[in-house]
């Protein structure tokens, strides 16, 4: 009878042990055997992977670009800025200095999954000695809006959490659209990212999702032949001369998130430095069709970033 009981337990638990792991194919085409429900995830990119995961309610245990105590090594603390009250507490711990991952620190966090971007392909084999490594497309024109967050939700079985967030976003979207003075479906936009030069932003991140869901369309190369290569990469460099001739219906400008100062005054200062006199000859600036936003808030591929963009557009529309 005892043997029969043991056999019964073995039979009942066998499917559980098989189900504890599953094989998936990541965006780099690698077959990854990972836990069915990973709980201790390390992310190799904070804004592109870590923030979407935290928004879905599964904050990573380790995150690239953080100190041992969870403090950020970057100019912007994306978890706190983008997620606000929803930011993980405690914050994920660091996995070594920026540009210098520490394999021992990573292992000490006992991860059951490491998620990186397509940029981490050459590290994947080495990191596989610590935990399964899943590579998720996150940039360079391979993802659009916040669909990287949706993909992660699908991978980790968090579809319900994503749908909840998306429902709140869609409701907010309708409210903001109603507050706009003109129908955005007949208007175009351009997002400019200021580093040490002027860059046109491609298709990724929550801000693009919000703008296009409102109905704005990206400034078409057909209508303005000075802008080419749209959507091919995150950033397309533009000369100051080309920038001066741009005339989208809505021009969104932001400072690099590598800078500490990203508010309107700081963005105006950056523009003064790169394109002196811009406010006199740039048509959207003269006609009040320019919107200054904090890049750290709106450039993650999350619903939260899209919501921040909606907030910024609503504030601008009310002015």
């Amino acid at each position: 009878m005892t043997r029969l009981f043991i056999l019964l337990i073995c039979v009942l638990t066998a499917p559980t042990s098989f189900a504890a792991e599953r094989s998936v194919t990541d965006d780099a085409g690698r077959t990854v055997t990972m836990p069915a429900s990973p709980e201790r995830i390390i992310v190799l990119h904070e804004p592109l992977i870590g923030v979407p995961l935290a928004e879905l309610g599964l904050p990573p245990v380790g995150s690239y670009g953080r100190n041992d105590d969870g403090g950020t090594q970057m100019a912007a603390d994306f978890y706190r800025l983008v997620l606000g009250d929803r930011a993980p507490d405690p914050l994920p711990r660091g996995i070594g200095a920026l540009g210098n991952m520490d394999l021992e620190k990573m292992r000490s966090l006992e991860p059951d999954l490491i998620i990186g971007t397509e940029h981490d392909l050459e590290k994947a084999e080495l990191l596989s000695a610590i935990a399964p490594v899943y590579l998720q497309n996150s940039s360079t024109g391979r993802v659009r809006g916040f669909n990287a967050e949706e993909s992660l939700a699908g991978l980790l079985g968090l579809e319900a959490a994503f749908e909840d967030r998306k429902a709140a976003y869609l409701a907010r979207l309708e409210a903001v659209r109603a507050a706009l003075p003109k129908d955005p479906r007949e208007q175009d936009y351009l997002v400019i990212f200021l580093s040490d030069q002027i860059n046109a932003v491609g298709e990724m991140a929550g801000m693009v999702q919000a703008l296009e869901d409102l109905g704005y369309s990206r400034l078409s190369p057909d209508r303005d032949s000075t802008v080419s290569g749209f959507g091919a990469t995150l950033l397309v460099p533009l000369s100051a001369e080309v920038f001066g001739r741009l005339d989208p219906d809505l021009l969104v400008v932001m400072n690099s998130f590598g800078k500490n100062a990203r508010d309107e005054a700081a963005i105006r200062q950056s523009l003064d430095r790169i394109v002196p006199g811009w406010q006199h000859f740039l048509k959207p600036a003269r006609e009040g069709r320019i919107l200054f936003v904090d890049s750290a808030l709106v450039t993650t591929p999350t619903v939260a970033s899209a919501m921040h963009m909606l907030d910024a557009i609503e504030s601008w529309a009310k002015k």
Partner: protein, 354 residues
């Protein structure tokens, strides 16, 4: 084996086989080996896991460690140490060979374009055959280096040209190839471009037993190369005409030296990326420690290169904290002050003698 005095008045150790080893060379070798052991002890002890030299010695004597300690010692720290030493040895040895061959104290694999040749072919492989097996990377590197070496020999008229012509032509080829590298990085897909930029800064992050296994045959090749080419390089140190008058077949040995340099450089570049300035710096530091030529110079240069790399890596990991310093930069931070001091000391000593 007995101590005696050589014809130049220096103390030597004379072996029964007739081989003579200068005592100051032995002392310098001992000093460098001690430095290597010291830095190794530091490198084994630095890291996030609570383990270090004592545990490593205990492991060697059969003690059992937990998985975290084993991972830290055997999968992270030891591969990094071994790979760093081997790469530093190969690059420094190549620098010493090229300096003797070209009779130019500035010659190194980077200056002659050999490293750039390897880098360009690796980049071409990444761009045009991104799905190619990883084992092809060292082959591409060697082909690139060999291509540059062959081009240099052809442009300078084979083994007949003097060292200065090789250096000048090498600088020209290196400049062109650097431009090609820059253009390719600019137009590569961003993810490849990021990876290449990391690698160009020099890195021991990818150190693993597999990478060490790939570099080991070339490292082993350097030992017979020292034995076989040491005598020829001693003759080259006296000048090419003197070398010929001493019976050195310059037209045959020059391509062999260049070929060996390519193999060693390409293997090191593939493993850790370019180690800028090490090829120039290490032979000069070795020479400042103990002036020598031939086999002794090669061994001392190789040891100095290895010590510099593992020392720079261990010190930066110990003291840099959250500041990421690639091995190329760490080498510069440690090696260049030493280089400047040794050059300054040499200048002062020369002034005093005159």
């Amino acid at each position: 084996m007995k101590r005696s005095i050589a014809t130049d008045g220096r103390k030597v150790l004379r072996l029964q086989s007739g081989l003579e080893i200068r005592l100051d060379t032995l002392w310098a070798t001992g000093l460098l080996c001690a430095a290597a052991l010291g830095f190794s002890a530091l490198a084994i002890s630095v890291g996030a896991t609570r383990t270090g030299l004592q545990d490593f010695i205990a492991l060697l004597t059969g003690a059992k460690l937990d998985e975290g300690q084993l991972f830290a010692l055997l999968d992270v720290r030891l591969p990094r140490l071994v790979l760093g030493f081997m790469a530093g040895w190969c690059v420094a040895l190549t620098g010493a060979m090229l300096q003797s061959m070209s009779q130019n104290p500035l010659a190194d694999p980077g200056l002659l374009g050999l490293s750039q040749g390897s880098m360009v072919t690796i980049l071409l492989l990444m761009v045009f055959a991104p799905a190619a097996p990883i084992g092809l990377v060292p082959v591409a590197a060697i082909l690139g280096g060999l291509g540059v070496a062959a081009l240099l020999l052809w442009l300078t008229g084979g083994g007949q040209s003097d060292g200065l012509a090789i250096v000048l032509m090498g600088i020209a080829v290196e400049t062109v190839l650097s431009s090609v590298t820059s253009i390719m990085i600019l137009y590569l897909p961003p993810e490849t471009s990021f990876a290449v930029s990391d690698w160009l800064a020099g890195s021991l992050f990818q150190a693993s037993w597999d990478v060490i296994g790939a570099l080991a045959p070339w490292f082993a090749l350097s030992l017979p190369a020292i034995l076989l080419l040491g005598r020829a390089l001693r003759c080259y140190d006296l000048g090419e005409e003197t070398a010929m008058s001493l019976g050195e077949p310059v037209r045959r040995t020059k391509p062999v030296i260049l070929f060996t340099s390519v193999l060693l450089t390409s293997a090191a570049v593939t493993a850790v990326g370019p180690l800028a300035f090490l090829g120039v710096m290490a032979p000069h530091l070795a020479n400042a420690l103990c002036p020598s030529s031939g086999r002794a110079r090669l061994v001392l240069s190789g040891l100095t290169g290895g010590v510099l790399v593992i020392g720079a890596d261990a010190l930066t990991r110990r003291f840099a904290g959250d500041l990421a310093i690639p091995i190329g930069l760490a080498l510069t931070l440690l090696g260049v002050p030493l280089f400047v001091i040794s050059m300054r000391l040499r200048a002062v000593l020369t002034q005093q003698r005159t």
